[in-house]
């Protein structure tokens, strides 16, 4: 096993899931509770990475984060390093393409919370923020966990966007799924088998755990 790549991938996946938990919960809660008509536009935007080819996403992220873009040049002048082909770059890309994998389960979990509980809480004078943390989040929690786990697992497995934005640099942006690609091209099928079977087992276990949680087989 290519352990530096495993470490890097775990960091990337944890980082992605953590950022999406912070960014995704408010968006999902808003989507689940708002009665605004144009919310379908936001829903479509959030779901876009599911349908977009990774090449399209990678191409635009490269343009948006590159040293010639306003954002990229700002970061370059502050930190002295460009975002593409760095860990920050693949983390940013990973957050974008995993957005639907976190926000959609979050949203359906919040939507399943009986609105009467929220309204009762608001009427009793509890602030909307406190209502969110004390009523909505605890009730929606299995769905939130599903979103976190799915975005974590999907971040581990993403290939195209990471290759385009990260450039496959060992120790910096070469994640475990890129290692499989390299091992196959190096005709090292034994190593590719080892890496790929670990990923296969990992994905299967994650999905089993997710579905078990949803059916309440596992006591979380």
């Amino acid at each position: 096993m290519d352990w530096p790549a495993v470490g890097l991938t775990v960091q990337l996946a944890f980082g992605t899931a953590a950022i999406l938990l912070v960014l995704g919960l408010p968006v999902a809660y808003w989507l689940a509770t708002t009665r605004r008509r144009f919310k379908f536009v936001i829903e479509a935007l959030v779901a876009l990475p599911i349908l977009l080819p990774p090449t399209v996403l990678g191409f635009y992220l490269l343009l948006a984060l590159g040293p010639r873009s306003p954002l990229g040049s700002m970061v370059l002048s502050w930190t002295g390093t460009a975002i593409p082909f760095s860990f920050t770059g693949i983390l940013a890309a990973s957050v974008v393409f995993n957005l639907p994998f976190a926000v959609r389960p979050f949203t359906s979990a919040f939507a399943a919370v009986n609105r009467r509980f929220l309204e009762a809480s608001w009427c009793l004078g509890v602030s909307p923020t406190a209502t969110f943390f004390r009523i909505a989040l605890p009730l929606a929690w299995p769905g939130v966990l599903t979103g976190v786990v799915l975005s974590f697992a999907h971040a581990v497995g993403e290939f195209g966007v990471v290759l385009m934005v990260g450039g496959n640099i060992p120790g910096v942006t070469r994640t475990i799924s890129l290692v499989v690609y390299d091992q196959v091209q190096a005709l090292d099928y034994a190593a590719a088998h080892r890496t790929a079977s670990v990923l296969l087992a990992f994905s299967f276990v994650v999905l089993c755990a997710t579905f078990a949680t949803q059916r309440r087989v596992l006591p979380i």
Binding site: L8, V10, G15, A18, G66, A82, P138, I169, P170, G171
Partner: protein, 270 residues
């Protein structure tokens, strides 16, 4: 509230996980304790030769650590011109290092040629075809369904392969049988795995330990295609790097030459 607490715990674990030591690919201090890190972007035809060369280089230069990324020269060129943090670029076609010099991204004085590239027709050992007897016409045998080449849009070996097909007047009949690898190593993998019947690949890959005993090849005469002229250059970010200079010197020096020669990379004057 148990679920909530667990969620918070997971969240803090995640934050903690992210804070763990960031890989420092950027450090370039060459003190004895911290070996200098050099990153090389290398054309895919170097895949096996450079791996071996780097092992030998690092044995002689324990103060330098080298990591290599392989790809088609064209896509590596695009990455470098978009700011990818490489120190040394080894391209299958000297045109890309030259373009980087013109863009002000590479050091003019450091540009070097290290070999001539050779193109071969490769088949698996169990293939009924004999490329040595058939030559170019092996590609249009009725039993051949798929011919693997590197993507001619950004891989020099792919461009050379298409040029060779055109000069032999075979391109039109071959067009529908071509499968394109992202780079020449992937094209080699396509044919080595049996997914394609014939591959037009780099001699260096055909001579690699991973492929040597698995198939037969025939070299396409050099006059059938424009010359493949691999070359390298040190990129601007490494212009003061001792390690990058040492690696460049090693590749063109006797240590590198002897390894490159075994992979069919003869220097222009050999």
């Amino acid at each position: 509230m148990d679920g909530m607490r667990l969620l918070l715990l997971i969240f803090f674990l995640m934050i903690w996980g992210c804070r763990k030591e960031q890989p420092d690919g950027q450090s370039s201090s060459a003190s004895a304790k911290h070996p200098e890190q050099i990153t090389v972007a290398a054309a895919a035809d170097l895949k096996f030769a450079l791996d071996e060369l780097l092992v030998a280089f690092c044995a002689h230069h324990p103060d330098v650590q080298v990591t290599a990324t392989y790809g088609s020269s064209g896509s590596l060129f695009v990455q470098i011109s978009n700011g990818a943090p490489f120190d040394l670029f080894l391209s299958a076609d000297m045109a890309y290092p030259q373009k980087l010099i013109e863009q002000g991204l590479a050091v003019y004085e450091s540009a070097f040629r290290y070999a001539n590239g050779h193109l071969v027709i490769w088949v698996r050992a169990d293939s009924p075809l004999d490329p040595a007897a058939l030559g170019m016409s092996a590609l249009v045998e009725p039993s051949v369904r798929k011919v693997a080449i590197a993507n001619p849009q950004h891989a020099p070996y792919g461009r050379a392969a298409v040029a060779a097909f055109e000069s032999a007047g075979l391109y039109d009949s071959l067009r529908d049988r071509l499968v394109l690898g992202e780079n020449v190593a992937q094209a080699a993998q396509f044919v080595e795995s049996g997914a394609a019947d014939v591959g037009v690949i780099a001699l260096s890959l055909a001579l690699s330990p991973a492929m040597r005993d698995k198939g037969r090849y025939w070299e396409i005469p050099q006059d059938r295609h424009p010359p493949i002229e691999p070359g390298g250059v040190i990129l601007n970010r490494a212009k003061d790097s001792a390690g990058a200079q040492q690696l460049r010197a090693w590749i063109v020096g006797p240590g590198g030459r002897s390894i490159l020669k075994r992979y069919g990379f003869f220097s222009p004057d050999e």
